[in-house]
Symmetry: C2
Subunit: 191 residues, 2 copies
């Protein structure tokens, strides 16, 4: 891997592990096995490198989610596929953790990719719910936007509870909980 690429990947890992405030350029360089000079040659500074790392993480997260959504199956099954996909629960969400970082939130350009990814995710889930309703699978009384937000929030909150407990259990409990609630809005008569 070239130096530039190693720098971005190292930044992605450290942002995940320690956040923006907790990550120093020096730490990124060490992990990437690159010198000071290399980093400041390829990037204007810490912020610039972080921006690229965050953008890439946001793209990947959306791509992985879309893989789950694009499977064929009922709307419920597609949501199930997303909620039960493999995750490194105890490491948390690469994007969610950035929302707790004061420097990220203070910088519109750094916050933007995070905002867009969560916005896209909720919109996509809402679309799937609406499709399910159109096909008579889901109770049409359900507010798609609200339920989509609840699902997205459960995942993010699940990570928080898992970290607090240093255990994956509360995460999986939360996912099963929201899935069971959602399952009860599936129309029984549906095929």
């Amino acid at each position: 891997m070239e130096t530039r690429e190693r720098l971005v990947e190292s930044a992605r890992e450290l942002l995940w592990e320690r956040g923006y405030v907790g990550t120093s350029p020096k730490a990124i360089q060490r992990r990437a096995q690159a010198g000071q000079g290399s980093m400041y040659h390829h990037f204007a500074g810490k912020r610039d490198l972080a921006l690229e790392a965050i953008r890439r993480s946001a793209e990947k997260i959306c791509a992985i989610a879309e893989e789950c959504f694009a499977t064929d199956g009922s709307a419920f099954e597609r949501i199930l596929s997303y909620l039960t996909r493999q995750r490194q629960v105890l490491r948390g969400c690469r994007l969610g953790r950035l929302t707790q970082d004061p420097d990220i939130m203070a910088s519109p350009s750094l916050r933007q990719p995070v905002d867009e990814a969560f916005g896209w995710l909720q919109k996509r889930l809402a679309e799937i719910i609406v499709q399910g309703q159109a096909q008579g699978e889901f109770d049409s009384e359900m507010d798609a936007t609200e339920v989509a937000a609840a699902i997205t929030a459960t995942v993010q909150g699940g990570y928080v509870l898992a970290k607090a407990a240093e255990s994956e259990e509360p995460f999986h409990n939360a996912i099963r909980g929201v899935l069971s609630l959602l399952a009860s809005r599936v129309i029984k008569a549906h095929k």
Copy 2:
């Protein structure tokens, strides 16, 4: 307010705003209008002061939740009271944000109060759900532990989504979403 007390309250505010890694002793002193010497007289160091601040925040959060839970009303109404209580949504959760802090998670003593508070919250919600089931209010098929985790996670995740969007909307959407899902498990025949 005495100096010691001002230091703890300042630490609470700064931990909320900037987290542990992002908060320096100097910043706490400035906010508390206390000198270096005062801080190191009353506390062994940054960690020691943070521990007291975190413990206090955990206690307060549990106390506020219990106020909501202790109101009379159905199980659903008590949960509703908790979920719709006044919150400073865009500032996030004092405890949830700490789970994203590498230094907090690396220190058992700093993590403990956070862990206990979330554990207590989930246990308490599960109890209320079980009570609701015993009284024929909630569908008895529901797994109380899982739904309690889902509710707790929705709140925490709602904060994350709100911060990302710099808007309270996704938080309130998520809360309404989980409430509507929960409402559909209330037995209609119940008085």
